[in-house]
C-alpha cells in the first residue's frame, strides 16, 4: 500500500472525571501538573502507550499490526525460542555490517509492527539506518484550565502482613482530578511515512485508536476518561501549506456560562463555578478563510 501523501496537524481533546490521567512518578503518583499554572499535563508516551494497547487489541493477529513494545509477556515466546534455536546456527552478536542488510531489516520490522511504523524505533546503535523516526509525533497534553488534584483516603478491610493482623484494616490513597479537559497537539509527517511505509489505512487505524483508546483503558486509577473531539488539518501537499501554530490557534476553548461563552483564561471566568463536565466547555473551530490547500478533517 502506498504511504501517506499529506501532512496533517491535529488537535485532540480528551477529558477525565474523578480519575488520574497520568501519574507523576516524582510526586508520589499525583497527576502531572505544571507548577507555575496548575494546568494538568500528560506525557506524550502515556498516550502512545494507549494507542499501542488499542491497536494490539483491535487488530490482534492481523498481518502488519503487531506491537513491539508490549505490556505483558506473550505466551508464544517459549515456542519462538525453540524455533529460533532450530533454525539458526551460532549467530554472531555483531550488528549487521552491510547497510543494505540493515535497511532490509528495518524495512521488515516496519512492515510487521504498527508501533514501529507509526512512532519509530531505535533498533541498532552502529548503523544509522537501524534507527527509524516514525511519522507520528505527539506533544505533551495540557489541561485547558488549572486542575485540582484531590487526595482521597481509602480503607481496605484486610491486611497483607501477619504483624498487622490486629489492625484489621489498612489505609490507602488515591489521587484524582474531579474534572479536566486536556488538549494535545499531534503531527503526521508524510516524508517520514514514506520511510516507514505508514499508509492511509494506518491513518484510519490511528484515528480510531485515538477515539476509542480510553474505552479499553479502564482502571481503578483512571476514573472516566474519554476522547471528545479530534480536529485534523489536512495539508494538500506533503510539505504542508500553512504554519502549524497558526492552524492550532483556530481551535479555541471557552467556558459555558448560561447562554454565554467566555474564552478560557478570560477574567470573567474567574468567578464561575469550577468545570465539572464537558458541557461546561465549548470547543470552537474557526474554519473561515482557511489558507489555500488546507482542509479540515474531523474523524470524530
Amino acid at each position: 500500500m502506498p504511504s501517506l501523501q499529506n501532512r496533517y496537524d491535529f488537535v485532540l481533546f480528551f477529558d477525565v472525571s474523578n480519575g488520574n490521567p497520568n501519574g507523576d512518578p516524582d510526586a508520589g503518583n499525583l497527576p502531572r501538573m505544571d507548577p507555575e499554572t496548575n494546568q494538568g499535563l500528560t506525557s506524550d508516551v502515556s498516550l502512545k502507550r494507549k494507542i499501542r494497547n488499542y491497536v494490539a487489541m483491535a487488530h490482534e493477529g492481523e498481518q502488519g499490526h503487531e506491537i513491539y513494545m508490549t505490556e505483558r509477556a506473550v505466551l508464544n515466546e517459549q515456542h519462538a525460542r525453540a524455533y529460533e534455536a532450530a533454525n539458526l546456527k551460532s549467530e554472531s552478536k555483531k550488528l549487521p555490517k552491510k547497510e543494505a542488510e540493515a535497511r532490509a531489516l528495518t524495512r521488515w520490522m516496519c512492515d510487521n509492527f504498527f508501533d514501529i511504523r507509526t512512532f519509530g524505533a531505535v533498533m541498532t546503535t552502529e548503523v544509522n539506518c537501524g534507527q527509524v523516526r516514525g511519522p507520528v509525533q505527539i506533544s505533551f497534553g495540557r489541561s485547558e484550565e488549572a486542575v485540582l488534584p484531590l487526595e482521597i483516603s481509602i480503607t481496605r478491610s484486610s491486611v497483607t502482613n501477619e504483624k498487622d493482623r490486629d489492625k484489621e484494616r489498612t489505609m490507602g490513597r488515591k489521587h484524582i482530578l474531579p474534572y479536566g479537559l486536556y488538549r494535545v497537539h499531534g503531527f503526521i509527517n508524510p516524508k517520514l511515512a514514506e520511510k516507514t511505509g505508514f499508509s492511509e489505512a494506518d491513518l484510519e487505524t490511528l484515528w480510531t485508536a485515538l477515539r476509542d483508546m480510553f474505552d479499553f483503558d479502564r482502571s481503578a486509577a483512571r476514573g472516566e476518561m474519554a476522547s471528545r473531539r479530534l480536529i485534523a488539518f489536512k495539508h494538500d501537499s506533503a510539505l504542508g501549506n500553512a504554519q502549524a501554530h497558526k492552524l492550532f490557534e483556530r481551535v479555541t476553548v471557552s467556558r459555558v456560562d448560561g447562554d454565554e461563552l467566555r474564552p478560557v483564561g478570560d477574567p470573567r471566568t474567574h468567578n464561575l463555578p469550577p468545570a465539572r463536565s464537558f458541557a461546561d466547555y465549548h470547543i470552537n473551530l474557526d474554519d473561515l478563510g482557511l489558507p489555500d490547500g488546507i482542509s479540515i478533517v474531523e474523524p470524530f
Binding site: 512518578p25 508516551v45 513491539y68 509477556a73 539458526l88 552478536k93 531489516l105 533498533m123 504542508g240 501554530h245
Partner: protein, 219 residues
C-alpha cells in the same frame, strides 16, 4: 555571508541534553548549535549544502522544570529481528516494557524562544544545478509557509518547535549576560562522531557562535 537566514523558534518545553548528564537528562541553559542546525535541516536540507549557525538570540529567561517518565531501558536487538525475519515468525519478537522499566527524570527548559541566525555553505556534493540562490529560496519559501520536511523539535521529539521566518531581529526585552561554560557545538560525523565543544558566552542575550568558532573548537 550573503546567504543568511533568521529563524525564530519557540515552544513550551525544550531539552538540549548535556552529554555528561544524559541518563537523567539535564538540559543546557540554551539551544546548542547542533540542535539549531537540526531545526534548519528539518525545514530544508540537501547533501549539497551545510548549515552553519552564526548567532543564537535568547528571547526568554532560562527556566527549568523537572519531568519524570517511565522509559524503556534497551534497544531493539538487530540479531533478534534478523532471526525472526529469516524464520518469518513474529512470535517472541517484542519487548515487555514493564519488565524493562527505567524511571528517568528530565530537567527540561520551559517556555523557550530563540532566534537562530545561520547561513549555509556548499559542500563537495553539490551538483551542476545546485546554486546557493536556489537553496536559499527554497528554505525561505518553506519557512514562510510553515512547511517542513519533518516537524522540528527542541531537543526531544515530544517538545515540538513552532517556527517563523524573520526579516528583522526582534528587540530583546530583558537581555542576559552570562558565561554558559563549555557547550556542545556539534558532532563531527566525518571524524567518527567526535563531539566538538565551545565556550558559550551569552552577551546581552546573544551567543556569538561564529566568534567562538573562530577561536577554535575543543575536542
Amino acid at each position: 555571508m550573503s546567504f543568511g537566514v533568521k529563524l525564530k523558534v519557540w515552544g513550551d518545553y525544550a531539552c538540549f541534553t548535556r552529554p555528561e548528564m544524559k541518563v537523567e537528562r539535564v538540559s543546557y541553559d540554551v539551544i546548542t548549535p547542533s540542535a539549531a542546525r537540526g531545526i534548519l535541516e528539518a525545514i530544508h536540507w540537501k547533501p549539497a549544502i551545510r548549515w552553519v549557525i552564526d548567532k543564537i538570540h535568547v528571547l526568554e529567561p532560562v527556566r527549568f522544570e523537572n519531568i519524570r517518565k517511565n522509559e524503556v531501558g534497551s534497544k531493539i536487538p538487530a540479531t533478534k529481528a534478523k532471526s525472526a525475519m529469516k524464520s518469518g515468525q513474529l512470535d517472541g519478537l517484542h519487548m515487555c516494557v514493564d519488565e524493562n522499566r527505567q524511571q528517568r527524570a528530565t530537567l527540561a527548559l520551559k517556555k523557550v524562544a530563540y532566534v537562530i541566525e545561520a547561513h549555509f555553505e556548499m559542500t563537495g556534493k553539490a551538483g551542476p544545478d545546485d546554486n546557493p540562490a536556489k537553496h536559499l529560496d527554497t528554505f525561505r519559501r518553506r519557512a514562510e509557509k510553515g512547511q517542513c520536511f519533518h516537524r522540528p523539535c527542541l531537543g526531544l521529539r515530544e517538545f515540538v518547535a513552532d517556527f517563523e521566518l524573520l526579516e528583522e531581529l526582534p528587540q530583546l526585552e530583558n537581555p542576559q549576560t552570562n558565561d554558559l561554560g563549555w557547550m556542545l557545538y556539534d558532532i563531527d560525523f566525518a571524524r567518527d562522531r567526535t563531539p566538538l565543544f565551545f565556550r558559550a558566552q551569552m552577551t546581552d542575550g546573544v551567543i556569538d557562535v561564529a566568534a567562538a568558532r573562530d577561536q577554535g573548537m575543543v575536542r
